[in-house]
Homo-oligomer: 209 residues x 2
Amino acid sequence: MRESQAADARRYHHGDLRRALIDAASRVLEAEGPSALSLRAVAREAGVSPAAPYHHFKDKGELLEAVAHEGWDLLDAALAKAKAEASSPAQAISELGVAYVCFARNNPALYRVMYDTARDREDLPDQMKIEGDGAYCKVRDTLIEAGADPKDTLDIELATTAAWCSGHGLAEMAGFKQFAHLKEACGGEVEFFRAVFQHMGLAPRPPGD
Amino acid sequence: MRESQAADARRYHHGDLRRALIDAASRVLEAEGPSALSLRAVAREAGVSPAAPYHHFKDKGELLEAVAHEGWDLLDAALAKAKAEASSPAQAISELGVAYVCFARNNPALYRVMYDTARDREDLPDQMKIEGDGAYCKVRDTLIEAGADPKDTLDIELATTAAWCSGHGLAEMAGFKQFAHLKEACGGEVEFFRAVFQHMGLAPRPPGD
DNA sequence: TTGTTATCTTAGCATCGTCAAGATAGCGCG
DNA sequence: CGCGCTATCTTGACGATGCTAAGATAACAA
């Protein structure tokens, strides 16, 4: 019997179509890229009619938002893991950056959807809000742990913004083959990320700051 | 003989439809945003049938590439102007960044098309090529003029890449209203850009580097 | 003038997002 | 158990999109 399944989700005819649609969308996204992510393709992948999604999402954008939301959660988890594994706050900053860019490189289509939907809403997801304990706050906290003055709030916010923008910029650029030879010269993609971050002042600089 | 009109452009029935289509696309883009930029809308704006563009562009992507190309030229000009007006090489670096972000903020839809088409080609336009005298090279030259060691080519390329990524990252983020209060606290949008760049090590740092 | 060829239009195809109306199935209530 | 209610899903349709094929048209070359 299906009634015993976990989660308080709707489970009428299909079971939990909302969940199934998000998963189907993620599958299509990974397999065929963002341009192939049509509502009808998602419905097809989930094995339902083209109009079925409209009983769970207002429109296509709302489905994408749900997919993006999962993406932000994944990114948040990746950053948390990187922070936890760092040996020092100074190292943590650099590792957060590397983890961020690696996430974007490993999930390029999802990363794109995340920012595209954010742009459409002219807003940012909770994970990047100044309040709370999202990814943005993880970066800020790490900067404070690394020695930034927690009392100079403007300076802290600016530094966090600078770090986030740097990571996002590199994440978007890293996909272009223009940088292939630089990655090679650095001895690998991750090493390339580290080297670029050093030039951004995000990696620990040998002499005192 | 091409008749007397200027430009060696095609001018059969319409005159110069290729040119007119690019202009129409730019107009649609500025007026209605990237999501409204359909081939049919552009044809409508130019006053021709929906199939007419296919005699001048292989497909929609090629039209967008043409629009993007003009965008990169505009961006290049904006950077050249900023560099020319800077009072010192160190200032020039910061001013290049500010000019870059301002361009993106003043032409958000165009900026989007520029990078979207570049992503589709998995390549970057000439303006960002390592060779030549495009925008990328302007940044690199300015870094050298500001004191970077021109012999350490890897370091130079990494520094240029870091600068470009920082600018792009800030350009993309600057559109979110999340940062409205930061802009206010800095006393304006441009001042906000400058402040972020300082945290990225792109603005001139008081003590010698 | 005549023929050629580039240019543009008309008509059509498959797909997309979305909606309205009908069918279906699980649930509560008697 | 039976009845109805309502959420869920399907069918069918509309307008719009990217793109193609076939025909009309106008500039050029001879």
